[in-house]
């Protein structure tokens, strides 16, 4: 086996350095210029204090920006909100996505493609459009959410659905779930369809059917797909931006900030470039850690 591999490789690309260079270099150039150099720039810049307007007036502050972050209550609020979104997204998007996938896989006979298509649809709509559509649903004057809640005799929140941060973070979650659950469903459905029919037959002989069979037999078999789904959702939750940007702009009084919107605020509204860089480095560390987890899990799979 090993010998065979070497043979294939020896006639293969390794001895054609010109081809290797031509094929590989463009990707490396793009990633280096627009991802890796800026990443290093973020780290370097996080040790300075500067603003957009005084680009040539960098002041070394050492770990000052990081110390500032630890004392900045809004940074902690943003980080906390990111974690709330991570956990809620896993429950709402992966959890409900799994239930939907299970139903479409074996629970129903008719209309599978139609249901799958409908539920997947929001995935192709831009998050800004999604946010604007939900903005009218949540609107205190013309929104249908108010109309529905009133029509069943309940009272609506006095500051509106997006005015009270304790409520608005959940409204953001409902909208995010609306957009992404279909994606999780399709991902998990692909995993379920890889489980062979014999497994279910065997389970049935052992007396495990329906929900029981799903819980004890199917779920462990699609473990890897579930891990990928959870990682994609977690990474997505740290990238959340548009919903908050459109719904609340991070307000009221920064209570709904997440890292993405807070970095944007510090950099482009307050022009604290150094501080924004330090926050970016924190996001960078979280992102690389999640990337490493993903690499590890995909190797296992």
């Amino acid at each position: 086996m090993n010998k065979n591999n070497t043979q294939i490789n020896s006639f293969s690309l390794s001895n054609d350095k010109v081809s290797v260079t031509i094929l590989l270099v463009p990707a490396l150039i793009f990633c280096t210029i627009f991802i890796f150099i800026p990443a290093i720039g973020t780290i370097v810049g996080s040790f300075y204090s500067y603003s957009l307007t005084s680009m040539n007036n960098w002041k070394w502050v050492g770990f000052g920006n990081y110390v500032k972050a630890t004392q900045d209550e809004y940074f902690w609020v943003a980080l906390k909100n990111n974690f709330i979104i991570v956990f809620a997204s896993i429950v709402l998007q992966v959890g409900v996505g799994t239930i939907l996938a299970a139903i479409l896989d074996r629970g129903i006979k008719y209309g599978r493609v139609i249901f799958r298509t409908i539920i997947f649809t929001p995935m192709v709509i831009s998050s800004v459009a999604v946010s604007l559509i939900w903005l009218i649903i949540y609107d205190p004057n013309v929104g249908i959410l108010n109309a529905i809640v009133k029509s069943i005799g309940l009272s609506t929140p006095s500051k509106g659905w997006l005015g009270d941060p304790n409520i608005s973070i959940w409204m953001i979650m409902i909208t995010a779930a609306w957009q992404n659950t279909g994606f999780m469903m399709v991902l998990i459905l692909a995993g379920l369809q890889g489980v062979s029919k014999e497994v279910y037959d065997a389970a049935e002989i052992d007396g495990a059917t329906g929900v029981k069979a799903f819980w004890y037999i199917t779920l462990p078999m699609i473990r890897n797909v579930l891990i990928v789904a959870i990682l994609i959702t977690t990474i997505g939750a740290f990238k959340v931006f548009e919903f908050i940007f459109v719904f609340t702009q991070g307000g009221p009084s920064n209570a709904t900030q997440v890292l993405g919107t807070y970095i944007y605020l510090q950099a482009f509204n307050l022009l604290h470039m150094g501080y924004a860089n330090a926050l970016s480095v924190i996001l960078l560390i979280i992102a690389l850690f999640l990337g490493w987890l993903q690499l590890k899990s995909s190797r296992k799979a």
């Binding site: 070497t6 294939i8 490789n9 006639f11 293969s12 690309l13 054609d16 081809s19 031509i22 094929l23 590989l24 990707a27 793009f30 990633c31 627009f34 800026p38 990443a39 720039g41 973020t42 810049g45 239930i99 939907l100 139903i103 629970g107 129903i108 209309g111 799958r116 997947f120 649809t121 192709v124 709509i125 831009s126 998050s127 800004v128 459009a129 604007l132 009218i136 013309v142 249908i144 109309a147 994606f183 399709v186 692909a190 890897n224 797909v225 789904a229 990474i235 459109v246 890292l259 970095i263 944007y264 924004a276 970016s280 480095v281 996001l283 960078l284 999640l290 990337g291 993903q294 799979a301």
Partner: protein, 272 residues
């Protein structure tokens, strides 16, 4: 038997309810477009009494056509570059036995993990210094870079499973490696190219953050940034806002419905 029926009702009930939750906002968007201001305010749950198009006329005045054209140009060039460059790189990574191969792959995975928000300030500074703010080229380049790592990973998995006999035969016939890639590998890679192109088109067509910081002039805004203008222009004129959204969203939905099989397939493959 009756237990089976109850389970069936629950299963259909659950997917039906979820489908209503998904369809309702789209329905609200379209219906609001046709409602009069009075109807929007007084009957949020009602249907429009007539199908007026005045909201559409208003919405078009914010320049949706030009935003859409910009989005089209950015998506077309960025997706073309991403698919070409990633395919080439992934082919090399799947066919060489250099030690360096492993490190390049790790670098690519790291690139996949880094979100634009984590490099926002230096990226903005760089594009600004190159005098490329407010140009489509200035957005296409970084978007291409951010699309490459994921697409390389996608192609890499495909090329690893690719039968090598054809390449052996071509080598014996005296083809160079570049010829093999472009004349043999590319024509046989239709499905994975389609998957990658669909996935990246959805991502780039909807990309917001980089376009937001780099495109501030209306002439160069892409659709997601342009849509914000609807709200700025027509603050509480929900009919006009929803009309603009309808114009922006419906074409995408039609494309999706026609090619839904390929969309679903391209995303479903991620878990494998």
């Amino acid at each position: 038997m009756s237990r089976f029926k109850i389970a069936n009702v629950i299963a259909y009930g659950f997917v039906t309810l979820f489908s209503i939750y998904v369809l309702m906002p789209i329905l609200v968007m379209v219906l609001t477009t046709f409602k009069s201001k009075r109807e929007i305010f007084l009957e949020p749950l009602g249907i429009p009494s007539q199908f007026g198009i005045s909201s559409f006329e208003k919405a078009l005045t914010v320049g949706l056509g030009s935003f859409m054209l910009n989005s089209f140009i950015v998506s077309f060039f960025a997706v073309f570059l991403i698919v070409t460059i990633s395919g080439m790189a992934a082919y090399v990574l799947s066919r060489i036995d250099f030690k360096i191969n492993k490190y390049v792959y790790l670098l690519i995975v790291a690139g996949f993990a880094i979100p634009p928000a984590a490099v926002l300030v230096p990226l903005y500074t760089m594009v600004s210094n190159l005098n490329l703010l407010n140009s489509l080229f200035g957005v296409i380049m970084p978007l291409t870079a951010f699309g490459i790592p994921f697409t390389v990973i996608l192609f890499y998995a495909f090329f690893l499973d690719f039968p090598k006999e054809v390449e052996e035969a071509a080598t014996i016939d005296g083809c160079t490696k570049l010829q093999i890639f472009f004349r043999i590998i590319v024509p046989l890679s239709g499905p994975v190219i389609a998957s990658a192109a669909i996935f990246q088109t959805v991502w780039i067509w909807n990309e917001f953050l980089l376009a937001l910081i780099m495109l501030t002039s209306d002439d160069f805004k892409t659709l997601p940034i342009g849509l914000l203008k609807l709200r700025g222009e027509w603050t509480s004129d929900w009919g006009a806002i929803m009309a603009g959204l309808t114009i922006a969203v419906i074409p995408v939905l039609i494309v999706f419905l026609i090619f839904q099989k390929y969309f679903v397939r391209s995303l479903a493959g991620l878990g494998k």
